[in-house]
Every structure is written in C-alpha cells, then in structure tokens.
Symmetry: C2
Subunit: 271 residues, 2 copies
C-alpha cells in the first residue's frame, strides 16, 4: 500500500541516518558537526546508537556507553556493526562498533527498551527539578565565547550559555544553558545523545580554555522521551586528577522533566 510521502527529515536526522548493509549498517559523518578537525563525540555516537536500536528492535537507549578509541572523521563513510547480547522482555543488550577508513573509532555497549511501555510503581517517581536559567535571550551564544577553535557544529546546534558560567569567571566547574537544533528540528531521544556532549567542557568555566578535553568514555541514560522545544542543560565536574576529569550532565525538556543524564571521563590536554 502506498502511503503519504514521509515528512522531510531534519538535517540532524539526515546526517545521522543509517541503512542496513551486508555486514551491519552504513552511515556517513559529515564535517558539519565538527569541533575543530573532528566530529563532535555525541554526533559520532548517534549513527551507532541508531543502528543498535534497530538491531534490538527497541527505540530507546536506556543506557548506552561509548568508548572513543580513535577520533572520528568528518566527511567519511561509517560502517557500523552490531551484535545482540541478549533480548529480554523489558530490555535488550547490544554492542556497537563504528569503523571509518578501515579503523575502529567508537566501541559501544548499551541496553535498549521502550520508554513508552515502562510502568512506574505508583507514588515512587522522583524527578530532580530543572536547573534555573536566565531567559534564552539573556544567555551567551556559544559562538560568542572565545573558542580558539573552529566550531562548524554551531551551524547545526544552537547552544546558549548562562553568563554566570562564562569561562574563567566561576568559582567552580559548572556550565548551564539552553540547547536546540539550529533548524529547530524535532527533539527526540537521539538528539539527547548529541546534546550530552555539545556544551563547552565545564572545566572551562573555572580555568578558561585550557586546551583539549577529548572524551575517553561517555555514558548516557535516557530517562524520558522529550517534548519539543529548548532543552535545559547542566554540566559539572568536581573531580579532576591525573589528567582525567569526570563530568556529570543532566538534560530537561520544555515541560521541566528530566529527560537524560550523562557522565563522561575525559583527558585534559593542555594547549
């Protein structure tokens, strides 16, 4: 049966899409989501997470961990392999691997489910309240901050930083603000994976731009499907040692619901 033509996809959906291939799934990372010379980590994760969702036949990454073993390549095809570990009633566990130019870039492990099907024992929900933020127009577009690096991603992602946390001005390592797709494309669980790694490192609010902070490992827990609109975000670290930092993040949607948590361990590489 022939239905109506599918709705035009957002640029994010087009540029993170995957299609089944002989060995798994094919995708392509464009250079338009780069931080400097390489794709943003969250962006590079999304095609792999889409493939893992397809492999499990479950839409939502309840918990997904990516290890960034080599920088991804902006402007190159990506071959994604998945392997189902176990499909249970509630969740399915799966591995993912993203290869570009014959070298593995990301290795992933996640458990997927259907957030629309999860039942909550009555009366037990606890939801952290959203971070308080100044209005969007009183926040600072990320491109107006001193970056010292090209940020092609900012053509695609609109990031507004709470001015209390402009770099070097804060007494602790925290960054809060607003985020959405620049084309106002829909917010869904996959955009949350992108947004989990799209703010400046929170350590910059304390020390200014100290160099590179490449992610070693990022885990995202998607907690609810978001409604459309701006996402509120908070990222903090109080744990920097041995040249490694652990940064926690939370994302809330326009209804005020916590929609995702994330934590990453990253390498601090002075410029």
């Amino acid at each position: 049966m022939t239905g109506p033509a599918p709705a035009p996809r957002s640029r994010f959906e087009q540029e993170t899409a995957v299609s089944p291939s002989a060995g798994g799934y094919d995708g392509f990372l464009t250079p338009d989501w780069n931080i400097g010379e390489n794709p943003n980590g969250g962006y590079a994760m999304v095609p792999a997470v889409r493939a893992m969702a397809l492999a499990t036949e479950r839409p939502d990454p309840l918990t997904v961990t990516a290890h960034f073993v080599r920088p991804a390549v902006g402007g190159a095809a990506a071959a994604i392999e998945t392997s189902l570990v176990r499909a249970g009633r509630r969740t399915a566990t799966v591995t993912g691997s993203l290869v570009q130019e014959e070298r593995e870039r990301l290795r992933l492990l996640g458990s997927f489910g259907d957030l629309g099907q999860l039942a909550s024992p009555t009366g037990w929900d606890r939801v952290p309240p959203p971070v308080e933020l100044p209005p969007v127009d009183e926040c600072v577009p990320r491109q107006d901050l001193d970056q010292g690096v090209d940020l092609p991603i900012l053509k695609n992602v609109d990031v507004r930083v709470d001015p209390r946390f402009e770099r070097g001005l804060s007494d602790h390592a925290e960054i809060t603000g607003w985020i959405r797709l620049a084309d106002e494309g829909p917010v869904d669980v996959m955009t949350l994976v992108l947004f989990a790694d799209a703010f400046p490192p929170s350590i910059f609010s304390l020390h200014g731009r100290i160099g590179w902070v490449p992610t070693l490992e990022l885990t995202v827990h998607v907690r609810r499907r978001p409604v459309d609109g701006w996402i509120r975000a908070r990222f903090r670290t109080d744990d920097l040692a041995g040249g490694l930092l652990v940064e926690d993040g939370e994302l809330w949607d326009d209804s005020g619901a916590l929609v995702a948590r994330c934590r990453q361990i990253a390498v601090v590489t002075p410029a």
Copy 2:
C-alpha cells in the same frame, strides 16, 4: 630464580582469581558473596575486570561498564572471554564476557590504564571532600538492618550504615557509611569495584525495603589507588521513573581521597 613464597592472598583475592585458559580466563564464583540466591553484582564483575586488566596489561580500570544480562550463579565455574579493542599509549580498551553454565551473565566494556603513571597538570586537581560520617562504632552493621533476604556476602564484607539513613527514616534517598573486607584484607582497585555495589539500595532509606533492585548496568570510574583502611561511601538517587532508578556513588579512602565513582541504572521490582 626462586623468590620467597607469595604472601597468602585474602579471601577476596582467592575467590575472584582468574587463570588463563584456552579460550580466555577461568574463574569461579562462590555462593559466599550472595545477595539472596545470586552473587552480588560487584562481586560477579571482579573476575571479569581482572581478566580485562590482564588482557590489556594495565592494572587499573579507569572506566568499566557491566551490563547484567542474566543473574550470575554462586557456586559455579565462570569462563571469561576478553577482546582487545585498542591499546594506546595512555589507555587500552577491552571487552569482557562472563559465562556460567553455558549462558552469558555479564557483558563488559572498559578502558584500563596505570594510575601510577598518570601525570596531573599542576594546580588543576579538584577533589571532592569525603562525606562526613559518625565513627564506625556508631554506625549500624548491615546485618542488623531488616533485610528480608539472606545476605551471605556480609560474612565477607563489613558494611556499617550511618544511622541517619536507616531505611524509611530519611526524607531523601541516600545511604552513607563505612565498608571494608571482613577479614581486613587489603583495599585495592578491585575491591573498589566490589564496594561500588555492596550497600543497600539508597532508595530503601526513603521507602524502606520495597523489593528487589537488580542492577541493569553499572559503570565504575576508579580515580586513585586506595590506601589500606576503611572506605567511606555515599550512594544517592534523585531519579526514579518508569520503574528504573539511577544511583550515584562515591568512595573515599582512609586518607580522605576520592578513590572511585560509580553510577548504576537498576530495575525497581516491588516485592
């Protein structure tokens, strides 16, 4: 050359040991670290984490994630397979899989390194201060709390809970306290993996013993090698929805240093 006989190993070291086998590593999970009918998740992880450390030739799990795809079996051999993803200068990434009775129980992904070799850019370390606790003798042994379940693990792990967080008495979901091996065996990075999952679920402090809270996924970041002595611990959750909760934990050693962080997503299963 013949050296002195190796020092007697602690019970923890003996009962989490692995040895190379044809297909990977062999271990054995005893029933003496059970929570109810099945081994504690942290205990079941340790042989796999030891195998992953051996496979990478790096001693320390900088970040290790375990997905618990089936309950482990106390009193059964464990076959562990590892696969090296990439060995770099600073870190090496590796997968692990723990199989008992021909069924996979845990799938893991981690990056390992040498905490003794990590250099810290001067002046940037930030270390969260240790949680304040009453003296050990003023805390409540876990076996004195109403459990409703057999806890063989408490023969091996000495857990003392801050009485402010006895179950059902708190206005938020937090548990703090002290932990060590019952035989006062040495504290090392592998004991921290065990201790990351050895306290009662912090949700019990708010709601009392509400049922089972099996771990779906646990990630541990070991931040420093601990000194011997009691470990201070804090576990909290402010995020329970859809029958899943996210719990964060921190562990500090006797010098007051943060030695590990952990986060897990767990299923709330009313009794």
